[in-house]
Subunit: 421 residues, 2 copies
């Protein structure tokens, strides 16, 4: 067993070297070939559905023994319907427009040199994720379609499921004559392998963590490789004095309560003192089962509102709880958002277009919305087809990140013998 003497660093370096070679081959492969590889991978997922279910049953048994919570067990669970959903997702990625080759800009210099910026793959992408085994297929498909090689490291509780899904994906891309090293799965559940990925500067070009806050926090703390990370969705909806009462009620109810556990859910509502129907919106929230924690002015409107503490204004509940405050005008709302927003998604409800445009301009968040539910903060809802995540960082890609976020560009210069004077 050679592996016994191999350090995690050696393992990751060897995988990354194979991934680099594969990424070069992918960058030269046609788009049709990559799309074909994904179609075949989707088919392989269906063909091997039974084997994937058996592998998953092993993971489920182990997880139950280890006492995983019902919520985690549900995330881990695969069945024919979920495998079909995963396969359909891979096919959907295969049918997205080609993200590569686009000429982003072109100029001709006075000396006749022609300069283009052309969209190319990023290279080698590391995906670090937790219990959902479908990420093995989803993330690999997005990476591959954008011409990148992927190194996948899933949760230890999903190891058998991930291996079975990976084997099916590999079979599909091999059948399209694409390099199997384009999608690799870290073969050990040793946590040190994650550390080695995070420190693999120059070997891995980008790390995408997919999972809960503690995973993302560890990745951000330890990584020497650039990270596309998603932190909190501390999102605010601000109801301006000019807001239509009925629209405000429907939007706030949807933004908070449609699904409380997603990152686009509204966590704080600011009601302008000039908005006449705050009481109705509060009642609608409470009647829908939402706990409202309010400042003094809000509490005065409904006895069911409990007092908010300082902490509430910075809390991403991901639950049927909302913080609510009264503000005097747009500027006070902007100040509150600047102080408490996590720069994910913030919205204004207003009929006054001038106020709305000022809000859209002044709020410094990845997504700013006017008269729309913050729950739309999602790559699929944005028409991007599929997303690898939502970035709360400011560099490279912001908000929902799909295929384009997994590309970069290079400068292509064509001359006729020009020398620099």
């Amino acid at each position: 067993m050679n592996d016994m003497t191999q350090t995690p660093e050696m393992l990751i370096a060897a995988m990354a070297a194979r991934a680099r070679k594969a990424s070069h081959a992918l960058s030269l492969a046609s788009d049709a070939q990559k799309a074909r590889g994904l179609e075949l991978a989707a088919q392989a997922l269906r063909d091997h559905g039974d084997a994937i279910c058996r592998a998953n049953a092993q993971d489920m048994d182990n997880a139950a023994e280890r006492g995983l919570s019902p919520a985690l067990l549900d995330r881990l669970k695969l069945d024919t319907a979920r495998i079909e959903g995963t396969a359909a997702g891979v096919e959907q990625v295969a049918r997205l427009p080609n993200p590569l080759g686009e000429t982003i800009s072109e100029t001709t210099r006075p000396n006749g040199m022609v300069l283009q910026r052309v969209r190319v793959p990023l290279g080698v992408i590391g995906i670090i994720y937790e219990s959902r085994p479908n990420v093995t297929a989803d993330a690999a498909a997005l990476c591959l379609r954008a011409g990148n090689a992927a190194i996948l490291r899933g949760g230890s509780e999903a190891v058998e499921s991930n291996r079975a899904i990976h084997a099916a994906m590999a079979e599909g891309i091999a059948a399209a004559d694409l390099p199997v090293d384009a999608i690799q799965i870290v073969p050990t559940t040793d946590r040190a392998a994650v550390g080695a990925m995070l420190r693999a500067s120059g070997l891995i070009d980008l790390i995408v963590p997919r999972g809960g806050k503690s995973l993302v926090a560890r990745v951000q703390e330890e990584a020497r490789v650039p990270v596309l990370a998603h932190l909190d969705g501390m999102n605010t909806s601000y109801v301006h004095g000019s807001a239509d009462p009925q629209m405000a009620r429907e939007l706030i109810l949807n933004a908070k309560m449609r699904r409380t556990g997603i990152c686009g859910a509204t966590e704080t509502v600011l009601f302008d003192a000039a908005f006449p129907a705050t009481k109705d919106v509060l009642a609608a929230l409470i009647d829908a089962g939402c706990a409202v924690r309010g400042d003094e002015a809000i509490r005065a409107l409904d006895p069911r509102v409990t007092p908010a503490t300082d902490e509430d204004w910075d809390t991403e509940y991901l639950d049927a709880i909302v913080a609510a405050a009264q503000v005097n005008g747009l500027d006070e709302a902007l100040d509150h958002i600047a102080a408490h927003s996590s720069h994910h998604t913030d919205a204004i409800v207003a009929e006054d277009a001038e106020a709305a445009e000022r809000f859209l301009n002044a709020v410094d968040s990845a997504i700013v919305m006017w008269n729309a539910s913050t729950q739309f903060a999602d790559g699929g809802e944005f028409g991007l087809g599929a997303e690898i995540g939502i970035s709360t960082g400011r560099l490279h890609a912001r908000g929902p990140v799909a295929l384009e976020g997994l590309t970069t560009y290079k400068w292509v210069v064509r001359g006729t013998g020009q020398t620099r004077p």
Copy 2:
């Protein structure tokens, strides 16, 4: 003296908080106001030229006492001509097209929501640089024009010059009613302040190191904040068998010898075995004063070529030295470049368009060139007006980075009350 009890972390956090406020104000200021601020700053640099020269004389005296090398002293030195050059550079930045506000993409969703991606400032940018005091003005001007606040930390040997230049810049932007905190200079030469900047995640959005390899390496090693960094320019020019002999001689001579100390200089030349005039190109290089270190085939062509060691293929000489090897065909050249390039700039000299296009497609570098000198790898030469640096990273911005590289985007969503089903 409150400062005696202030840690570097507290100092940087306080500066960053003021910078964040200033960046919000800047993001709302009109482009004309920012341009006007830079015009006035350029004028203030000229008006205070004498004071800047006196401050610089102090730095020069201290540096001479500390025994700085003549090369470093020359970098530090300011005179009326250099101050005029700096002022003109600031004016040039004022006259570049507005990098902000552009709508990068726009879509209307089936439910009627209109989505735009709009170019906005990055936020707060930290610049860490060495002895050239003109960076104080250049970098601040680029940051400000792109709507960002800058926190500047120059070399301790240039502290008086930097302060004087900063004071003039601040006077100019204040005269245009822009917040003076938009350009701040770290008031201490304590090296711990650099560490505090590098760890200021969430407070500083981007660090740009400007200086030698050891500075850039320290920044990359220590930074928790994203870094726009420029590593080696291990650039290769490949002379294909189809290359025009005269063009090849002129291009190689220029690419290596025009200025040997810039990052775009060619460091390795690959001669195809099918190229008939390798001997002439070698003679031209050697006659121009270049030391050639070659493999066996190259040494056989000219007795003045000395043997290359393995190390030579990975060395950025920044000097009148070149490594030269013979390769058999394009694939061998691509393999050599994949193994040794630092992914900065690589070029092919060829008349065969098919070979050239294969090279441009296959070489994974920030800049790839066909029949042009690698010495063109420069923001000014690319028509970008001015550059903050050349990025050898793959994320966010690649190659020469100018105003656009100092921006990001946000998603602006305009609805009419849409809720997510």
